[in-house]
Point group: C2
Chain length 489, copies 2
């Protein structure tokens, strides 16, 4: 109980800190004069109060956290911040005669903070801009949290793919205090994230978006979130230039931010070719985009090859990087196309990026291991170590991938079964869970690109919220809390 | 080339041997006086001729096979025997004014020999009994081959789950000649298989089936094949007693035959509790059957709880053991039920049984590994070996499971993509491939329990035939042939 309260202490501080991000919509509300300043001041006050009470109420239990407490902290942060995120949404909608349930608001906030981008709202074009912008602020803040989580926190907890492979966290390190290492790594990564955000923002503006649209779409792009200021997503802009900018920044955001940092430090692009994931990721995603473009042209979905390429590449990159934008209703294409896009969304993004899913590093390890297995079968006496970029992958890391894959498959099976049991139509059940667990956003069927999550019932919405959270925290971080071993002394 | 011809030499002999199994339908043709004796004599002559020519033509290249040649041999046996299997079918149908294409006949034979049980034929009730019986003969012979393959041949090739775990094939052993070990193991297993078959046959007869029906259904049951002498499968008999017998023998056939042999040797049932798979397999399958029964009763699909239990348990055991019989159109149930049944079909049968799929042993290793991973995350310095029934599972075996799972997932993805590209409706595409790759038989949609594979086009039928073969040979055996390493000197 003492340790739990020590975790709550840090959680309270994090929540108070998160409350301050409401200054962003406040500023925009003033700029745009949309009359929501008061709403955000109220929201801020409530959120801050909750955080501070939790923080002060547990001051007596303040203690240095052990790595093991990290699981609880991270899981609680990702469950409690969305609670605060609901405040402005609930105040706005229910205060303006539009009903928004707590379930729906929590889903929307979770979708924001996990950068999933599945939405329950329609007519977002008519929303008060600053309230709409709050959703994007959650994306952007969430994206920041995701990177630090993946590159600095999860490795300390012994969860994740890339970090373990790089073995840059030697054993004893894990026993050290959490803070110093996180702080220094985080600073470097924040700098990259900021830089990318600014360039993306200006590029969108230069390509013709309004300042407001550019800001929001920037947040959604670099976090690989997927919310849009328009119900019709990128189809609203109908601009190949804007789409090209989006593609570039989605790809950049799908690369490990530690790799960006190294490239920046070294002042060259060699870091990318040395990174095991960057090139396979970009090549897979773009290659599939081009293939689908050819397919859509050959099958006469689009008569013009360039048009086919434009729509195929944009939507493929968007789903494969787990951003989740759309510039057309790609569910109208032959089903194989969206299915392949979603399949890539499950597998292709890099660890340490803002993308979701299994991550390219695990896929590469699986492929290498399978190749070695084939060789081992043919040459039973040969020693066949598994190498990635010339570095040996320890057997322990391979077996941890195995465990991850089982949990991943099991999570999908259980969640889909619950969706079906609660009455969802099969296409919706499968793709909603996959879209949420991999933090993609749109699925197919009732949760497809031309639709949203509104048709799901409350139980299903909670399932999806849960899927987003465990997916974002790479399963182990949350699921370890459900083991008796965790709660034993 | 020399080695290839040495393999063809053994293949020819195997084919000639297989031709002699046509004596079975010959005898039944005489008993039942259905006038097909001549057809089988012709078929036998053709098949024998092909086999003998291949055997004699390569006599000069006769050589002791290396383990590595086993991959080619096994893959070729399972592709060429179905060729011979088509002869009686083609002669019968095309000789009696009913068109049967080679593609369809090959599918039917492959489905027979891999004990998959998906069929392209309808009106089987009206077929000449001995020709119908030929399909069951293929099931029975196939089942025999499968057991020997799994328990004696694949371990020598370093493929498969159970054998590697038991480590009863020490390294140097692999270099030994193939023949002696196979011969002794095979004899023991054949004895068990024969014994099980005779008891099953008599039980069916005693429960009211005709001698002919009992014979055919026996072959289909012990091989976990799924062909039936009636279009309506077990619904034709409408007998709880017959269904109960079927359940018992499906469960027995889903247990490792080496375990049966040990139990027989020791004259007790301790071998089953020592076997890592037997109890989890039976418990999972029966448990799910009861759960689905409860669900069907609660959701009012059946008003009577016993009726619900009867249909649920029979069909669940049938699909989960990969037999593939049906006594009702379970696709009319809420979709979650057939999906869970198919999911078990992918995972639950034992290695060394006649069942298909991933096999319980791999699943157990995955689960154990995941548990250890959780413990390892909580206690980074603890040594966490993975144990199964008190025996250490080497890391090498775990990583080979990892490779298997990747190949399995990849095979499904590629084959489903090809099904969709060739125009199959999604439910059909997914379940046809899963039903074939796991040697279950019926899927859902166009290939569901009330339908058959007839609606697929030729390309799709070939895909399904391929899926049945690679699934039956545990993927590696066939797929290793597609590596350049295999063909290098
Ligand atoms: K997303
Ligand atoms: K079967």
């Amino acid at each position: 109980m003492k340790r739990f309260l020590a975790v709550v202490h840090v959680l309270g501080f994090t929540m108070a800190l998160f409350a301050t991000t409401m200054f962003v919509p406040m500023v925009w509300s003033v700029i745009l004069e949309d009359g929501q300043l008061m709403l955000f001041i109220q929201s801020f006050a409530i959120a801050l109060l909750i955080g501070v009470v939790m923080w002060l109420g547990t001051l007596a239990y303040r203690a240095e956290l052990r790595p093991r407490d990290g699981f609880l902290l991270v899981s609680m942060v990702w469950s409690f911040l969305p609670l605060l995120g609901t405040i402005p949404l609930l105040l706005y909608f229910n205060g303006n005669g539009m009903h928004l349930s707590f379930t729906d608001a929590y889903f929307e906030s979770m979708s924001g903070l996990t950068a999933t981008g599945g939405t329950l709202l329609s007519n977002v074009d008519e929303m008060a801009p600053s309230v709409n912008l709050w959703r994007f602020t959650m994306h952007w803040v969430g994206g920041m949290g995701i990177i630090v989580l993946a590159v600095a926190i999860l490795p300390l907890l012994g969860v994740g793919g890339h970090q373990v492979f790089r073995a840059e966290t030697p054993g004893p390190m894990k026993e050290e205090k959490l803070t110093p290492r996180i702080a220094s790594t985080a600073k470097a990564l924040y700098a990259i994230y900021f830089g990318l955000s600014i360039v993306c923002f200006l590029a969108y503006r230069a390509a013709g978006m309004s300042w407001f649209d550019a800001w929001c779409q920037m947040a959604s792009t670099v976090a690989l979130g997927g919310f849009s200021t328009h119900d019709s997503s990128f189809a609203y802009f109908d601009s190949p230039l804007i789409e090209a900018i989006c593609i570039v920044f989605m790809l950049l955001s799908g690369i490990n931010f530690a790799t960006h940092f190294k490239a920046f430090q070294q002042g060259g692009i060699r870091a990318y070719s040395r990174c095991p994931e960057a090139i396979p990721f970009v090549a897979t995603v773009l290659g599939m985009g081009v293939l689908i473009g050819l397919y859509l042209w050959v099958t006469d979905v689009y008569q013009d090859p360039l048009t086919a390429l434009r729509y195929a590449v944009f939507n493929t990159v968007s789903i494969a990087t787990t951003a989740g934008f759309a510039n057309t209703d790609y569910e109208q294409w032959p089903l194989i196309a969206p299915l392949l896009m979603i399949l890539l969304g499950m597998f292709s993004t890099s660890s340490g990026s803002t993308g979701g899913g299994i991550k390219m590093i695990r896929v590469l390890m699986l492929i290498k291991q399978t190749r070695q297995e084939m060789i081992g079968i043919l040459h039973p006496h040969a020693v066949t170590p598994v190498l990635l970029k010339g570095r040996l992958i320890p057997g322990k890391v391979l077996t941890s991938v195995l465990a991850f894959m089982l949990l991943y498959g099991l999570s999908i099976a259980v969640l889909v079964a619950l969706m079906l049991l609660s009455g969802a139509e099969p296409r919706t059940a499968f793709t909603a869970i996959i879209a949420c667990l991999n933090n993609i956003g749109p699925g197919l069927g009732d949760v497809g690109p031309s639709s949203n999550y509104l048709s799901l019932n409350d139980f299903q919405i909670w399932l999806c919220s849960f899927a987003m959270m465990i997916g974002r925290l790479e399963l182990f971080t949350v699921l370890v809390l459900f083991t008796s071993g965790f709660w034993r002394k």
